[in-house]
């Protein structure tokens, strides 16, 4: 020990000199995942849910096109307009299929609660990834909320119209009011308008910031047909369903074609 004493000040110096390297690790650069890694991450999100049975909608098959539009008005009056769409399918067993574009390629997502599998397919390459569906690993952080029994769920569903009156949060910053019912795409939809206020000074704002979310939902299909979100910070975003058709889509849409190479990713 005695012989180590002369080293202490020099070791301290060494640690001081090494500190920049340690700090560089702490402010690690943004690490952007490559395509396959990000696909695995998104597949894991798709395949991992604690709402497996409760969120499967059976006996209500449909197909539709979902359209996204966003408009952002800049301070100089310029406008940024984006539009995209995707194709939705659901069969009578609750399987779903979403066809969209992602990073310049076609992407197909299939959720198959019957087989308990989740798929992400790239039709252009005839490849894909699959993962068995399951609940997240239990931990104190992700403890599941108390589940509602099917009977209680039906009761809540039935009481919803009566409860759909204007509500205001305790702090007065969030309010919801019903917009009544109307017809959209041949379906009866119920509307709600949620208003959220960010008080002046909360985010450096001199005036309150008010955002609104208008949602029109088909209770029968358990599907939002129209959503319009207005936020003065980001502009206006509209999501709507078009060409909604009830009826069972082709069963082949919910299976992986035989000539695809699909790699199964094991759950962690």
């Amino acid at each position: 020990m005695r012989t180590m004493l002369p080293m202490l000040p020099i070791t301290a110096l060494a640690l001081v000199l090494a500190a920049p390297a340690v700090q560089a690790e702490e402010r690690a650069p943004l690490v952007v995942a490559d395509f396959e890694s990000s696909e695995v991450m998104l597949l894991r999100v798709n395949a991992t849910t604690r709402c497996r049975e409760d969120c499967v909608v059976r006996g209500m098959p449909y197909s539709a096109q979902r359209v996204y539009e966003s408009v952002q008005v800049l301070a100089d009056g310029n406008r940024i307009v984006n539009r995209s769409s995707e194709q939705l399918y659901r069969d009578a067993d609750g399987r779903t299929r979403v066809e969209s574009d992602w990073l310049g390629q076609a992407l197909v997502q299939i959720q198959d609660p019957v087989q308990g599998m989740s798929y992400r397919l790239q039709p252009s390459a005839k490849t894909g990834l699959s993962m068995a569906m399951g609940a997240p690993a239990p931990s104190p952080r992700n403890a599941p909320p108390p589940s509602m029994s099917p009977v209680a769920g039906m009761a809540a569903e039935g009481l919803a119209p009566a409860l759909a009156s204007a509500t205001v949060s305790a702090d007065g910053l969030r309010s919801t009011r019903p917009l009544g019912t109307r017809q959209m795409e041949g379906e009866t939809v119920e509307g709600t308008l949620q208003t959220t206020t960010i008080p002046a000074g909360k985010a450096g704002n001199t005036q309150p910031i008010v955002t609104t979310a208008e949602v029109w939902r088909s209770r029968a299909l358990k599907l939002d047909l129209y959503t319009r979100v207005i936020d003065p910070r980001s502009g206006e975003r509209v999501t709507r369903l078009e060409n909604l058709r009830r009826g069972t889509p082709s069963p082949s849409l919910f299976t992986v074609p035989g000539d695809y190479t699909v790699r199964e990713i094991k759950r962690r």
């Binding site: 012989t3 180590m4 004493l5 002369p6 080293m7 000040p9 020099i10 070791t11 110096l13 060494a14 640690l15 000199l17 090494a18 500190a19 920049p20 390297a21 560089a24 402010r27 650069p29 943004l30 690490v31 952007v32 995942a33 490559d34 890694s37 990000s38 991450m41 998104l42 894991r44 999100v45 798709n46 991992t48 849910t49 604690r50 709402c51 409760d54 969120c55 499967v56 909608v57 996204y68 995209s84 779903t96 979403v98 969209s100 992602w102 992407l107 997502q109 959720q111 989740s118 997240p136 952080r141 992700n142 939002d224 959503t227 979100v229 910070r233 980001s234 975003r237 999501t239």
Partner: protein, 159 residues
């Protein structure tokens, strides 16, 4: 070398008995071989060590410290030279999903990380292609946000 005079003790500070003993033994000769034996014993005791046996822990400690400091300095400099700038995206196994073009991410000034639990449906509205069969189920998201509020990249994990 001239022998010292008997009264030299005043100069060299030695005791008077020392000068007396010298006078007594001035003409005496040692037994045969004693001098040679003494010289050999001296040589054994003070033999020249190879260089690596001359390094003791006491001698090594400061040099080891200096070496450690130099190594750390080299490490820090090399790290500074090799590490990409903070905004430069690189491929990795478990990274972020880019939401903005690479040049805009690279040009973002002082981006910061925000963590939030967001409904699946909201993430789909942001353009992230995930299943929203359970639209209100929360997904843990880590968002890299530019100073302008623009989301640059996201990393997701199911709660």
């Amino acid at each position: 070398m001239q022998p010292k005079a008997p009264n030299d003790h005043r100069k060299d500070g030695r005791a008077p008995e020392w000068a007396g003993a010298r006078r007594l033994l001035a003409d005496a000769a040692p037994p045969d071989g004693v001098e040679a034996a003494l010289l050999q014993a001296f040589a054994r005791r003070h033999a020249k060590q190879p260089w690596y046996r001359r390094w003791t822990l006491e001698a090594l400690a400061p040099w080891a410290g200096i070496g450690a400091a130099g190594f750390a300095l080299a490490l820090a400099l090399a790290g500074g030279l090799r590490a990409p700038p903070p905004q430069a995206p690189v491929a990795a196994a478990d990274g972020f999903l880019a939401l903005a073009p690479a040049d805009r991410i690279a040009a973002a000034v002082n981006p910061h990380l925000r963590r939030a639990d967001l409904p699946r449906q909201e993430l789909v509205r942001m353009g992230i292609p995930i299943a929203a069969d359970a639209p209100d189920e929360l997904v843990h998201a880590e968002l890299l946000v530019a100073a302008t509020g623009e989301p640059l990249a996201v990393r997701l994990a199911v709660n």
